[in-house]
């Protein structure tokens, strides 16, 4: 089992969702986050006082999958979120020790899907 975390551009979320659904990945959670990569965020200016290094809005996806779903999920995110410009985001894949469905108490493979 793996936990896939992806940081993507907010306006690419709908695209990524479509790609995930088409590969039968239907369970995800979505967070609004702020941050910046190498492009160092945006500049804001209030009454002439410059504020640099301000954060950009991003979307953070968390998807827990069984091992055979790792590849399709990563493909879906890349296909859906790539524009080729700076700031498209990143995908992190972490090992997942356990997964428990609260309603039934099931664990492991069955609990994820």
């Amino acid at each position: 089992m793996k936990l896939i975390i992806a940081i993507i551009q907010p306006h690419m979320l709908e695209n990524v969702k479509k790609e995930l659904y088409s590969r039968d990945v239907n369970l995800l959670s979505v967070n609004e986050v702020i941050g910046h990569g190498r492009q160092k965020g945006v500049t804001e200016m209030y009454r002439g006082h410059r504020e640099t290094g301000n954060m950009l809005r991003k979307i953070r996806l968390e998807i827990a999958v069984n091992d055979n779903f790792v590849k399709p999920t990563v493909e879906a995110i890349i296909t859906g979120a790539r524009t080729g410009e700076l700031g498209d985001g990143k995908i992190f894949i972490l090992p997942l020790e356990e997964c428990i469905r609260i309603r039934t108490g099931e664990t492991g493979r069955v609990a994820i899907g």
């Binding site: 200016m45 209030y46 009454r47 002439g48 006082h49 410059r50 504020e51």
Partner: protein, 431 residues
């Protein structure tokens, strides 16, 4: 027992009828209606100011701004009828009024000495709204870091010891600046320079906010624009209501108010576009308010030409103060009360002495109409208000700070005043 009560009530009614008959003759219903509405318009400016300021602070501090504005509304309303009005407008010496009208005794329902055509009571309420918004303007300088108990005591003392005397100097029958012929139609010196200078002193005394630049750190500029709209709307009561009549002078004040606000909004946009790269909503709103401030003393004296120039001139001056001078001297006047109200008020008071057109109002003749001396009188009134306001505010702060803590500690500041001072949050993370 019942009979006795009826007799008493009948006598009471007769008494007030007799009283009303004596005085009702000079009251004009059109004037009265306009000043009643104007008082309500000016009242709305204080909550409007709360949103103007509230949008410019971090989201953990917006309730403290709203709370301070509404608390001032409550405190000064009571202070005003108890003794504030009498100190400001009552008979006294050139410096301050005495207590003849304390608790509004000897007022009645008829007209008063400041206008024959409206009831004295509505003049009192109209002026109450000015006494309320002036200390409310000051809070913009010490946002995000003042203890609430200190704020309450400061407000009571400042309203009584600073606002009431200066109001008396400029607007009372026996005020010394009024006697000198200083022109201030609706409060350029009394309200804006006064609040702006006090704000600068407070900024220096309370010190900088932690972990931030010297500019505002807005969390919701839509609130700020909403507040600007309410201020602009209320300002028609502030300026056109100051005619104390529904007449041509009021109409002129209304027109120059709107024109100057618009010209100043435009000139701010232009200056910002040139020097900062992009026109901003906050800049446009700030320009509009600066224009409204600058036209305030002039609104009963200048014509359309004067109002456009006042609007065009004030924004670049305020912009320069806020961006260059503030950065140079590094005082944390967080929401630019000094930069907009103090400087805008000074620009407006001086330009009133330049553009006052005697065909608009016979008592005001500016430099452009051959009266050089008016500029000197305006200058004198500005210096007098600056000196008194600065020294008075300094003393009030220092004395109060011996007994009560002025500033929240670092932990409270990081937590935000909404939680540290009021145990509330404006926006919940979890419903």
């Amino acid at each position: 027992m019942k009979k006795l009560l009826l007799v008493v009530i009948a006598l009471f009614c007769m008494g007030s009828l007799l009283f009303a008959e004596e005085t009702v003759n000079t009251i004009n219903s059109g004037d009265t209606a306009w000043v009643l509405i104007s008082a309500a318009l000016v009242m709305l400016m204080t909550p409007g100011l709360a949103f103007f300021y509230g949008g410019m602070v971090k989201k953990k501090n917006i309730l403290s701004i709203l709370m301070q504005c509404f608390t001032i509304l409550a405190i000064v309303s009571v202070q005003w009828v108890l003794f504030g009005y009498s100190l400001s407008f009552g008979k006294g010496n050139g410096f301050i009024g005495f207590f003849e009208w304390a608790g509004l005794k000897n007022i009645g329902l008829g007209s008063g000495p400041y206008s024959d055509t409206i009831p004295h009571l509505i003049f009192i309420m109209f002026q109450a709204m000015f006494a309320i918004i002036t200390p409310a303007l000051i809070i913009g300088t010490f946002v995000e870091r003042m203890k609430f108990p200190f704020f309450i005591l400061f407000t009571i003392l400042w309203a009584t010891l600073i606002y009431d005397p200066i109001c008396h100097w400029v607007w009372a029958k026996d005020g010394w600046l009024a006697a000198k012929g200083a022109l201030d139609f609706a409060g350029g010196t009394v309200v804006h320079i006064n609040a702006g200078i006090s704000a600068l002193v407070m900024a220096l005394l309370i010190g900088k906010r932690k972990n931030t630049t010297l500019g505002p750190t807005p969390h919701n500029l839509a609130f700020t624009l909403l507040g600007t709209a309410l201020l602009w709307f209320g300002w028609f009561g502030f300026n056109a209501g100051s005619a104390l009549a529904a007449n041509g002078l009021a109409a002129n004040a209304f027109m120059v108010t709107n024109t100057a606000a618009s010209a100043a909004a435009l000139s701010w946009i232009i200056v910002e576009w040139i020097f900062a790269g992009k026109p901003t909503t906050l800049g446009m709103a700030t320009g509009a308010v600066a224009g409204l401030v600058a036209i305030t003393p002039a609104s009963g004296f200048v014509d359309i030409f004067g109002s456009i120039l006042i609007g065009l001139i004030v924004s670049p001056v305020c912009y320069f103060m806020i961006t260059i001078v503030k950065s140079m001297f590094k005082y944390d006047d967080a929401l630019d009360v000094f930069g907009v109200h103090g400087i805008g008020g000074i620009v407006g008071a001086l330009l009133t002495g330049v553009f006052a057109n005697p065909s608009i109002n016979g008592i005001g003749k500016g430099v452009l109409f051959g009266n050089l001396n008016q500029l000197w009188i305006q200058f004198l009134s500005i210096i007098a208000v600056i000196a008194y306001s600065a020294i008075g505010t300094f003393i009030i702060f220092k004395v109060l700070n011996v007994f009560v803590k002025a500033r929240v500690d670092e932990k409270e500041e990081a937590l935000g005043l909404d939680l540290s001072e009021h145990n509330e949050r404006a926006y919940t993370l979890i419903e």
